[in-house]
Symmetry: C2
Subunit: 296 residues, 2 copies
Amino acid sequence: MQASTVKVGVVQQAISGNDKHLNWQQSAAQIALLAEQGCRCILLQELHSTLYFCQTEDTDVFDLAEPLEGEAHAFFGALAAKYNIVLITSMFEKRATGLYHNTAVVYDCSTEIAGIYRKMHIPDDPGFYEKFYFTPGDLGFTPIDTSIGKLGVLVCWDQWYPEAARLMAMAGAEILFYPTAIGWDRNDTPDEQARQRDAWQIIQRSHAVANSVPVVVANRTGFELSPNGNEGIEFWGTSFVAGPQGELLAQASTDQPENLIVDIDLQRTEAIKRIWPYFRDRRIDDYGDLTKRWRD
Amino acid sequence: MQASTVKVGVVQQAISGNDKHLNWQQSAAQIALLAEQGCRCILLQELHSTLYFCQTEDTDVFDLAEPLEGEAHAFFGALAAKYNIVLITSMFEKRATGLYHNTAVVYDCSTEIAGIYRKMHIPDDPGFYEKFYFTPGDLGFTPIDTSIGKLGVLVCWDQWYPEAARLMAMAGAEILFYPTAIGWDRNDTPDEQARQRDAWQIIQRSHAVANSVPVVVANRTGFELSPNGNEGIEFWGTSFVAGPQGELLAQASTDQPENLIVDIDLQRTEAIKRIWPYFRDRRIDDYGDLTKRWRD
């Protein structure tokens, strides 16, 4: 870890079409703003190049995928080098014909890729047909070394799994990052919508608490129609940054594009782990069943 | 599960001395009130028989311990039978000379013990010298079968471990219960106190979210002096009940004895697990390192 405080930026965007070049330009404009304001690390939201295309199962959508070192790589790597920042992007990765991943790519002040994370837990529910598009990641829960520290990058559905955050923390992750794309069904009641958004924030803040590390979350905002005329998704924004006790340091609106800038004090983790040393007391002698599907 | 809704009661008490018979009478009075109001299940706070005695390390304190089927058992078993309730109590268990546990005891409408849970994760920090008093539990994370369902009873420090809640849920626990005793150091700033209490609530609400089960928490309230003249602990109360999305259903005050009564709809778990089926997608092929101390 190079410094005790790192200024982190989060970009929450609304996406209105599948012109990825236009969407990249819009991301680049926000990255420029954040870099000018001193951010050393910037997180983009999940699948920021396009609309959230998993609302239907459509083989033509595979045209949106790119190889790891494709056009998106050239574009965002150049930005990381230009602004001398750690940049966390998200992409629809074409690994081979018929083999695709939902992949986060990390750059570290260079056009080179510092590391990637392939989404390990893949959701599938009405409007979020990700199992059709993405093979579950095969790189495990491995932090990515950068000039600002070891970054535990996870993606969206991973956020519901304490196991994922724990394994990242145990491998030395100093900050957890979650690019996500989650929203409401407009048919749900306001109460149900509130419960869902709160659950989403609570579970991610809890990873900060359980592991005494900061958590940085970028979610998309805006309404995206479903291509098949179904309801569509109202992405709930609410990108946020939590400190190592789960405390909210910043939070974006539900319905507007917005950037967050937060100074994260990495020394807090050391202090918190001294007063509440959870890792000292884990009952690893009795955790074996965590690798079972169910205890039946 | 016998009915889709179960009325649960929580007793949050302030303890002013080590006269256990007096403290039991006070608990019994609240149990009577809750039973009269229709509660089918009642949770008492951690180590409710006495002051929180772990503020110092004192060999005389072992006199407070009892065998499993001792005086406390006779007293509380009789109440469970009298009121025809599931009753969850907490005790300083003397298992053998020199061998003690922090144990939750569950009664099911009978004077007999339905099951016990011995606290698995034992804390130790200034003012909470539990490792001096309690041997870590050796019964694992095993739910207790009762007439209202399978209960996942965990105790205080366990609350910080997602592993414990997960293992209970995977073994079929339908509700999680946490008797606890946690409070503030008065020397901490109000901001730090707020972060601690929030962290404590977030992590427990997150167990509801991660496992789609309700969570019931009883914490003590009131200030207890340290026997050695140190600062003492201001127990922060805030007993609460959360539903299977982590939503708060009821919450007690920080500083007053108080009972909670909540109708828990157990069918919600089924509904929530259908829309957000986390257990379907756990990456058990890559969770093996959870049984390590650290990934180094």
